[in-house]
């Protein structure tokens, strides 16, 4: 017997595996989305760091207006990251033939939004109560948990990113006051590293 049937069987098994992956996971998530979100986060962190340095905390109103200002910056950074991430993923979905708003994408979104929404409200309450020291850890921990949940519905590798965020978030609890650095490491550097690895692994040749 020749190797013909074995080769054909291997091809068939590869097809089956690919179809199982493609139909159950959202594989259009682009590595470039991770990089762009990370760049937005770093730019935001740099701006906030600069603003805090130039604030005169002697004046009572300065602290209140600073809080408001920072919440605004956070919202802008979040939107910029989301829009740029969406843009690259949209481009990728054209190539993978997986609809950007198909069943897989919806499943991914709903499973990310629940922990992320809970975390977002909880973090806003921390700001409201003035517990600023726990804002960055709370962002990192809830985001890490939401990624962990999402890893079942997209690339498995996102689990590693989730673990990194969780470790940074927990460590930050014992280094209160350095939140911005932990935040920049998690949302900025970890995103860029993850995005670059994923791009290298799955999209480079395309």
């Amino acid at each position: 017997m020749t190797n013909q049937p074995a080769g054909a069987s291997l091809d068939t098994i590869r097809d089956i595996k690919q179809m199982m992956e493609r139909s159950s996971r959202f594989i259009s998530l682009s590595g470039l989305s991770g990089i762009s979100a990370g760049v937005c986060a770093l730019a935001g962190a740099w701006y906030v760091n600069d603003t805090i340095e130039h604030t005169n905390f002697g004046q009572a109103y300065a602290a209140i207006s600073l809080t408001l200002h920072l919440v605004k910056v956070a919202v802008i950074v979040f939107l910029a990251a989301l829009i740029s991430a969406f843009f690259f993923t949209y481009l990728r979905s054209k190539k993978t033939h997986v609809p950007i708003w198909g069943t897989q994408a919806q499943r991914l979104m709903i499973n990310m939004i629940i922990p992320l929404g809970v975390g977002g409200l909880f973090t806003l309450k921390l700001v409201d109560l003035g517990v600023y020291g726990l804002v960055a850890p709370s962002c990192l921990i809830f985001y890490g948990l939401s990624l962990l949940n999402a890893s079942k519905y997209t690339f498995k590798e996102i689990r590693h990113l989730a673990i990194v965020q969780l470790l940074l978030g927990l460590t930050n609890c014992w280094f209160v006051g350095y939140g911005l650095y932990f935040w920049a490491a998690g949302f900025g550097i970890a995103h860029i590293a993850y995005g670059a690895i994923m791009w290298w692994k799955y999209e480079k040749q395309a």
Binding site: A6, S9, I13, M19, M20, S23, H97
Partner: protein
């Protein structure tokens, strides 16, 4: 030596039917349009392969309405699951017998 090819299921000879089964094995159900997008075939082609699988009782069809539009979803039956698994076993046997 027994010919391993005889254990392969003829119904899964077609790449399209194999694709449909693979997708349905890992999802509770998938609708027609998502299947079309996944497998990249025309409506008529997909429909005829779905018919074959339905007639073999490997898949079942659920018709529902979303507003006025029909939403037809497909899911794998117990018989289909069994047939697909033994097809995979046969493929595995073939690869092993070559080594």
């Amino acid at each position: 030596m027994k010919n391993p090819i005889e254990h392969l299921n003829k119904i899964f000879d077609s790449r399209i039917r194999l694709g449909i089964m693979s997708a349905l094995m890992v999802n509770e159900s998938i609708n027609f349009n998502d299947l079309k997008e996944l497998i990249q075939v025309t409506d008529g082609n997909l429909a005829s392969h779905l018919k074959t699988l339905e007639e073999a009782t490997y898949i079942k069809v659920q018709k529902a309405f979303i507003g006025r539009k029909t939403n037809t979803t497909y899911s794998v039956t117990k018989a289909g699951e069994k047939a697909f698994k033994s097809h995979l076993d046969a493929l595995e046997q073939m690869i092993r017998s070559m080594n």
